[in-house]
Symmetry: D2
Subunit: 227 residues, 4 copies
């Protein structure tokens, strides 16, 4: 239940560009970059697109969220089993746009783990990242919400948040990897993130809304390899 | 944006029986009953199964929920556009297991309508049904939560809730149809619901967890036709 | 369970000006204006200040919110009984900063009514106001959220929202009074609100953050009386 | 910002017994036991009763909850400043009946700390307690929700949860004290909790709904002192 580092996780959010054909186009671009560079590129499409994306590509597909419930009487919920059945190998959790209460977050991590899913728990700052690490997810993704979607990379605007998170997570739970996100849109942002001690990045608009997502990913992968 | 009455809406919830092959099996059983009887049978699979079910059958597919947001930066949300693209023709909203705040419910109804989706807004009693009707959905489904999953049909346990809802909704907004749910598991429950003035029923475990869902639906359709 | 029209309801929110001595100062200013003009002025202080404000003044005190629960095992909740015991005669509900799901809103209105409290249900537009009216509160307060705190009064910026709400509420439930809010900060805004068919206004920063709250309220009361 | 150990924190919840005169009676009983035994007894009345209880007694008064917001435009919220002004010296946070999302919990702890309030963060199990400790509250109160209100004490039913929490919290943040709760209703439960390494207990119905709360508290204090 882990992804190979370095990794780039592309969150499709609910962007208009990431529905139907758009989701497939993005996922296939990501797959080509992975095949050419060897850098792990995972995609997190909307729930309705997980099945099609998983069928059409070989790259890791993540859900954007799961609910902390077992299969059962839960209308409008998304379970670990459902996303795994659709082809996901993991899930984001606790994104700033889809926060969970602490007890549910712990339960969602456990349910995902029990279903064999990789978990990437988002957190807004260093203390919250340390807290998230105590729940033993696969990864913690530290993302200062105020930078999300700005194009101002966390690795440049708040490098101390990234390094203090790497340290805090190691202290609480050394088995948990750290990635970072918010404002990542260029290759150099990825390189900087790795040099700060992370295993990779989580991003969204920087790729999804790019004119040429494949070119952006290729540049990012190149920086991830230190080239 | 309407379904032909009488109608039976089968909510797959997050039941284990309704994932992957199970979802297709249930949907195909529903389709056969529709073809044989002419009674509208709609299904509401988990978000991850909408695409596959819509591809495999010709019956109306509903989402179990949509979020009241436009396409955009909304991780872990489900938009009207996403479910329509996946093949849904409508959506449940405000199910007792997935309630919405009033302002969001109004917005979700509007967003679904603008996307050309049928809306079935669930409500827990007569005043809430009247309130829901003021938001101009296609249908209001009155479901006393205490009867959900019990096998004790609302049409028998609380017929006055159903009739008072039919009256209240007609007074507030005569263009809104009423269906009822909670505890519906046999053909006679469906017949009773229609005699109380509804256009059909919303049910879940009574079909999804039945040993022979097709037989249950056939009996329900038969009663819906007054046979 | 009603307030005498015309009425001005001052929501203290969680403003720094409205805690401790500040709450008492505001409430006493409101009381003086009421005594001098006869115009109903109700205040909605923070929960922690209800008791002190109710003890120190004779004007109607409202809670800003109650939870839809009976007395019992509900940590961090506020019940109808608690606010009544503290001296409140009513409560705001469903403010745009404290929304409730539809089922809870219906239950909160019922619980408040059963406890003898006046209910003022906020709603963001005309359909939501009509929906709220179906729950039979004492009043519906229509407040377009985009105007709250702007100083641009709803009565001037969106008069058609106010008049269509007055009509829609009358159609759904003629026993429910309509007030309006958002951007109300001057006497003429109050006069305009009454001419549009409302029974009064709900406001906050326009009074709480005014240099001279008593002068603002006096001018508002004067306009409310058509002088 | 700490309480003297051993400590007994009595959560009044929204119990009918804890409103108005009842709140004062309970608080005064707690005060007498504290004066006679020297064991810290803190009380957490409903928000509307904080002022009266703080005025009438000298024991530590806690809020049951605060919202993670600064003073401002937040209707129906409770701020750190409000409860401090009313006389509280601290607050419970994240009780199983009033959970917070992780980011808000971190912010609420910070806001309370900045206002000089003691913080007691509830958590449902050991990993969540460790996570809570990473946010640097004054105390973590581990409470398996399934035991709350049962009279089956966590210290007897799940002692391993208490000891593993004490260890995990010490590892993550040794400056954070651990207390435990759920099912605590007798003196021996308090003694057992202390022997498991906690600094005290959090309880509610065991005292609030007791026929003679003072006798129960006296027995508990006696066990807390090892007599």
């Amino acid at each position: 239940m882990s992804l190979e580092a370095p990794m780039i996780i592309v969150n499709f959010k609910a962007y208009a560009e990431a529905v139907g054909e758009g989701a497939l186009r993005l996922a296939k671009a990501a797959e080509r970059v992975w095949k050419e560079t060897g850098v792990t590129i995972a995609v997190a499409p909307p729930a309705t697109e997980i099945g099609a994306v998983a069928l059409a590509t070989e790259i890791p597909v993540l859900s954007q969220h799961i609910d902390p419930v077992e299969p059962g009487s839960y209308t409008g919920h998304i379970t670990a089993e459902e996303v795994r059945e659709a082809g996901a190998v993991g899930t984001l959790l606790n994104h700033s746009e889809r926060r969970l209460i602490l007890a549910d977050l712990g339960l969602a991590v456990k349910r995902a783990r029990d279903a064999g899913l990789v978990t990437v728990v988002c957190a807004n700052n260093t203390p919250a990242s340390a807290a998230a690490a105590a729940l033993s997810p696969s990864y913690v993704a530290v993302e200062p919400p105020e930078l999300i979607g700005t194009g101002i990379p966390v690795s440049r605007a708040r490098p101390e948040v990234v390094t203090s998170t790497v340290e805090a997570v190691r202290r609480v739970n050394p088995g948990v990897g750290v990635i970072c996100g918010a404002g990542i849109s260029r290759g150099e942002d990825v390189g900087a993130a790795l040099r700060l001690g992370t295993l990779g990045v989580l991003l969204a608009s920087g790729v999804v809304k790019a004119k040429d997502p494949e070119a952006v990913l290729t540049e990012m992968a190149s920086h991830a390899l230190g080239r």
